[in-house]
């Protein structure tokens, strides 16, 4: 009997033990949670309005402002824009049914390491539907960026509204360590070594350096043979150049990302951080970069391969002012939803 047969029999035995309840019992579970998230989002937007564009006594229905002019701290979201107090965010200021802490509900990476159900539903929705989200239900999609852990690619999923940017700024004020993160490369770090990513930082990516299209993050304990294998793979005509960034340099970058987070800095030492190869391919077309970067996935000693976000995605991210300073990053593991 082969080992493969044993594995199949183990599968047989386990499958016999599984009892699946009727799927109908689970209908609507995610949908029931969505209104909570939408409400939380609306609360955040209203609070942002108070903090940033406070317009006392503004009763003009036709005023189309960037943030709602409500002076109430709680709100509900209506699915349609039929309300007479509709702002650009389709919020109303009528009934108050739920008081929600927006930070708790939307989940911020560093402050809320255990993802809420809403965040997971959001992540699931984004990862699998790949359709624009419309959390405030105003008919215009929100802008969301996702890092796909599986293939190491940034995806721009949806467009965000101006009002949301305000909400995100407010949240940054509440979470100063996140707000102080300067422009930088998306950092993908796996501090506890569970295979998930702990921090994801989206920004203008200035640290990527000229022409760098993807990074091969190595395990801190990768052997010199494993590094040799990666280098031999990099010594090929499709690679124009590459740079090796050792653990100490990575630590210095890390320190630059989180200058105002002494607790985090104290918890991290250079030898925990992964060294990396920053690769400049000859052909920077997305398909070519993907094909090339995939060759490094799963190699011994390789922790992760992170690809630069495509130009189209970056332009969409920066244009229109909707996301000039903010972005939402969602990942399915580690930090689940980070707002910037």
């Amino acid at each position: 009997m082969s080992l493969e047969d044993d594995i199949r029999r183990l599968g047989d035995a386990r499958a016999d033990r599984v009892t699946t309840p009727p799927w109908r019992d689970h209908l609507g579970a995610a949908r029931r949670r969505w209104p909570l998230l939408a409400t939380a989002a609306a609360v955040a937007v209203v609070l942002a309005g108070l903090a940033i564009v406070f317009l006392p006594g503004d009763e003009d229905d036709d005023t189309d402002v960037a943030a709602p002019s409500s002076t109430e701290a709680t709100t509900t979201v209506t699915p349609s824009s039929s309300s007479s107090t509709t702002s650009s965010l389709s919020t109303t200021t009528e009934a108050t049914t739920t008081t929600v802490d927006p930070l708790q509900q939307t989940g911020i990476c560093a402050a809320n390491p255990v993802p809420s159900d809403e965040v997971l539903d959001l992540a699931t929705h984004i990862a699998f539907d790949r359709t624009p989200l419309d959390l405030d239900q105003d008919g215009v999609g929100d802008e969301v960026l996702i890092y796909d852990d599986a293939d190491g690619v940034w995806h721009l999923i949806a467009r965000l509204q101006t009002g949301w940017t305000n909400a995100l700024r407010l949240q940054s004020e509440v979470a100063p360590s996140l707000a102080s993160t300067p422009d930088g490369l998306p950092a993908a770090l796996d501090l506890d070594g569970d295979g998930g990513l702990e921090f994801l930082v989206a920004g203008p990516q200035t640290r990527w350096g000229e022409g760098v299209q993807f990074m091969v993050w190595m395990e801190p304990e990768a052997t010199s043979d494993q590094h040799d294998e990666i280098r031999s793979l990099l010594d090929q005509p499709a690679v124009l150049s590459y740079e090796f960034v050792d653990q100490q340099e990575t630590f210095e970058e890390f320190r630059d990302f989180f200058p105002d987070d002494p607790e985090l800095l104290a918890a991290v030492t250079a030898d925990q951080l992964p060294p990396s190869y920053r690769v400049v391919p000859v052909d920077d077309a997305r398909d070519a970069v993907e094909a090339l970067s995939r060759r490094f996935h799963g190699r011994p000693g390789v922790r992760d391969v992170v690809q630069r976000m495509g130009d189209a995605g970056r332009e969409a991210l920066l244009q229109g002012g909707s996301l000039d300073e903010s972005a939402i990053v969602v990942t399915l593991d580690g930090c689940d939803l980070a707002l910037w």
Binding site: L3, E4, D6, I7, R8, R9, L10, G11, A13, R14, A15, R17, V18, T19, T20, P21, P22, W23, R24, D25, H26, L27, G28, A29, A30, R31, P115, L120, A123, T124, A127, F128, D129, D148, D149, A150, D151, D194, G195, G196, R294, H297, G298, P300, L332, D333
Partner: protein
């Protein structure tokens, strides 16, 4: 698409989905994860049922809904009562990297092709083959079994 049509789809896909998820989730969580994924499939039935590999897709949905943060093969207490298999097998699978054990489980225990397993894992078929080969070599070394 009627509920009856969908029930046919469920009958066809549920067993493989249960089996696929039985490697890396606790025994008590597999059933609910499958039911949640099937409910999701019903709510998105037009798209899901037109997929070439709906099981792979629903596998990812179910994994996400199951919210298991730590990855890797999970030994079940019931494994100990299986007389016909290599006794150290569950522990040896658990000692592999998460991707290796997942590739092995999806291909050898679930019967997926490399392409199907790749879609379920979100990686290419050739990467599945790499994980599979390295994982099986490590398993054989660990268990002292010949190829």
């Amino acid at each position: 698409m009627t509920e009856e049509d969908f029930d046919v789809f469920v009958m066809r896909t549920q067993p493989q989905l249960e089996r696929a998820l039985a490697g890396h989730l606790p025994a008590t969580r597999v059933g609910d994860a499958v039911a949640e994924a099937l409910a999701y499939a019903w709510e998105h039935r037009d798209r899901v049922l037109s997929m070439v590999n709906p099981v792979g897709y629903l596998y990812r949905v179910a994994q996400s809904k199951a919210r298991r943060r730590k990855q890797g093969f999970l030994p079940w207490s019931s494994d100990d009562a299986l007389p016909d298999i290599e006794p150290g097998l569950p522990a040896a699978l658990a000692a592999l990297s998460p991707k290796q054990s997942e590739a092995i489980w999806l291909v050898h225990a679930t019967g997926m092709s490399h392409v199907e397993a790749g879609e379920a894992m979100g990686i290419s078929a050739s990467t599945v083959a790499n994980h599979l080969e390295r994982g099986m070599t490590r398993l054989r070394d660990e268990l002292g079994v010949d190829a």
